[in-house]
Symmetry: C2
Subunit: 430 residues, 2 copies
């Protein structure tokens, strides 16, 4: 059979298995797996990998082993009942190996009342499958898993190994992927199937670069006073407003200074988001303290420590321009996860292969871009020596919010692109 014949068999198998793809995703979405509570869904994945005939490795990441690793960033000191699962399809030899990586943890649904379709319902309405994690990123895991299954069911034998990593805790710093690296899982390249749709009705982008990000708090000190004599005090809210404006100026400064071809399509290539502001305890007292919590984006090529210093210096200089803050300087505290930016050259073979596969399935060239958000790719690249492309069926605009959904036609089409990419990357016996 010619090469194209094998590919046609795999395509036909994916069309035949459409309901299985949807059902796998429904099964995953119906198991709540808010970060920290991944056990049930991981057992589900392990069972799936076993049924597929993969070599299944399920283990609990070990805090003691990981805590001193330079890539370690986690709010936790134990991962009990939070296993990682890896399923390996061994190739016959002579091909390139590929990691397919996805995280099963999801962010909280927060206020379930504001969901029209309940977060764990996996309701299907027309082309949409609803639920927390449907786009971020159980959809991606379903697509990559079923791509492998359909290749196998079509009777195609791969040359290189495929390693499917179903990991925990991406949403809080990436310890799951780090644990895979430390356990020894490496490959010639990796595909992470995080959501890369960013426009309503748009097609997924292919992302050879991913932005990094990190979090920091600014602790602001004012001086309390009774509201009746409020001018005797110094409002921490007033100071916070100065600092917020300074932070938005910093965002502007950074985005005007930095140029990156894969980020030019974004209105704000490396966004700085002021996510939380809390100040004050009583309506009739001048607020004495405030805390501002910020997420700053980091462009590929930027040095994390330099960005930290830039933030700290920027806040310090802002304080020097205020008669109160010059003597009561706000304190900057970096906390929580750090997502390392990373990028591949556009002529890297995996980028080429995914681009070609994409063009065959979607009948159009993909948009190549960097992601403006962080993911586990930085860990694979910097600590696992594995080049990464991000490409997945989810929609970035709906994740982390009520009524998260994924479009079923994209889920199926992306499964096909991944299957083609696996065939071309790993090679197969004709």
């Amino acid at each position: 059979m010619a090469e194209s014949g094998f590919k046609q068999k795999v395509l036909a198998k994916i069309d035949e298995e459409k309901e299985s793809i949807i059902n796998l995703l429904r099964g995953m979405v119906q198991i709540p797996s808010v970060v920290g509570d991944e056990k049930a869904v991981q057992e589900f994945m392990a069972k799936k990998f076993e049924e597929m005939g993969l070599i299944v490795d399920m283990w609990t990441p070990d805090y003691e082993e990981l805590k001193t690793h330079p890539g370690f960033a986690s709010p936790n000191t134990t991962y009990e009942n939070r296993p990682n699962v890896v399923g390996v399809l061994k190739g016959v030899g002579g091909g390139r190996s590929l990691i397919l990586n996805g995280h099963v943890d999801v962010v909280s649904p927060y206020d379930e009342e504001s969901w029209d379709h309940k977060p764990w319902s996996a309701d299907i309405i027309g082309n949409r499958l609803y639920g927390r994690g449907s786009s971020d990123m159980k959809g991606g895991i379903a697509a990559m898993t079923m791509a492998v299954e359909c290749i196998k069911k079509a009777g195609v034998r791969l040359k290189g190994d495929v390693i499917i990593e179903s990991v925990i805790e991406e949403e809080a710093g990436g310890v799951g992927t780090l644990a895979c690296v430390v356990r020894g899982y490496k490959a010639d390249a990796a595909l992470i199937t995080e959501p890369t749709v960013i426009e309503e009705g748009g097609l997924p982008m292919v992302c050879p670069a991913q932005g990094g990000s990190m979090w920091f708090k600014v602790h602001v000190q004012g001086k309390s006073a009774h509201a009746g004599l409020r001018y005797e005090g110094v409002s921490a809210i007033e100071m916070s407003i100065k600092l917020c404006n300074a932070l938005w100026d910093l965002e502007k400064f950074r985005n005007e200074k930095l140029r990156h071809p894969l980020y030019e399509r974004y209105k704000i290539p490396i966004p700085l988001n002021i996510g939380i502001l809390n100040s004050g305890v009583w309506p009739s007292s001048v607020p004495e303290n405030a805390t501002i919590q910020v997420r700053i984006g980091i462009a590929p090529g930027e040095n994390i420590d330099s960005v930290r210093k830039q933030v700290t210096d920027w806040i310090a200089k802002t304080a020097e321009l205020d008669s109160w803050m010059v003597d009561h300087p706000p304190k900057v505290e970096f906390f929580g996860g750090t997502w390392i930016p990373t990028e591949l050259p556009l002529d890297h073979p995996l980028v080429q292969i995914i681009t070609d596969s994409y063009s065959k399935i979607f009948n159009t060239e993909p948009v190549l871009a960097g992601t403006p958000w962080g993911a586990d790719g930085g860990i694979l690249v910097h600590h696992g020596d594995t080049p990464v492309v991000i490409f997945g069926p989810g929609d970035m605009r709906v994740i982390h919010f009520p009524n998260e959904f994924i479009e079923i036609d994209k889920l199926i089409a992306v499964t096909k692109v991944i299957a083609f990419a696996i065939l071309d990357w790993c090679g197969f016996v004709t």
Copy 2:
């Protein structure tokens, strides 16, 4: 004995009882009485009034009776274990009656760690007695109570009745004083001994006018988005900053428009305080909601409903100038207590008498001013038909904060001024 002879006897008695005044205040401060938990200190007051030979009336305010009263403003629906105490010294007849009013509830000490002298210690260091409530306003209650006791102990018989009201819940809306009014306690005038020192080392002011105040929240709606695409969202923090600036403009507008001779000494006669701002749930999400909590001052002569309308209209007009808020207008919600402003003409006999008494004790004319904060006076004036002056030994700058204190020499001097004022107002048998 000539009039001045009786006054000298009372003065001498106060000097003799200096330690008893301090001890009464220490006893009160050592009993925690955060608003809602006033029972123990009220039992202490009732015992004191009994020992003084007053007619003691201790009762629990009745929610059912009070709730429909136009002066009712309380966050509670029961006052169980929160009695009011009134002690009455009947005059021999032919004189004017006087209410002496003070509240035993205090605001929380909040973070006890930041107190060098613990909130319920009543530590004395030099001229200062420390503790939550020492200035606001157990010091005032000690002074007015001991003024009456010393008059009695000096053997002076008053013509008019003196009614000492030891009330609950001033800090949350004044239901204790309202309950006194509803129970029938009225008089020809009243003195409230709230703190009126406003400058370090300064003397207490005599305040024939008191500002009012009320609280409101502004509920702000944004639109969430992932930080990486933050420009797809609308930051509730950004909207809140616009609204805070608008509120400070409103304060400027009101203070430039309003003129009141008793308020000209204040940098901001009717302050608007933004006390609390809370927004956001996650550093990496654009904050969708915010709540701003505000205390607005009301000048004597202003109509409460007009001020409410002014606030609501101001926010509405601000929203109309913003492309997001015009379609997603912030909501204004008035909540919690309302302190009604009030004032007496400067030639009212009680103002004259307190001024004269003050001059004799302090050897200087008092500063006459309005208070920039609200108190229970509005209830006595508007619902109890009783004119009010505010004058007390506490220091406004230290109340509601850690290390609240009162200056002992002022406590004693104010006790003397009050005693003289009682003698002159009620009249006495010579």
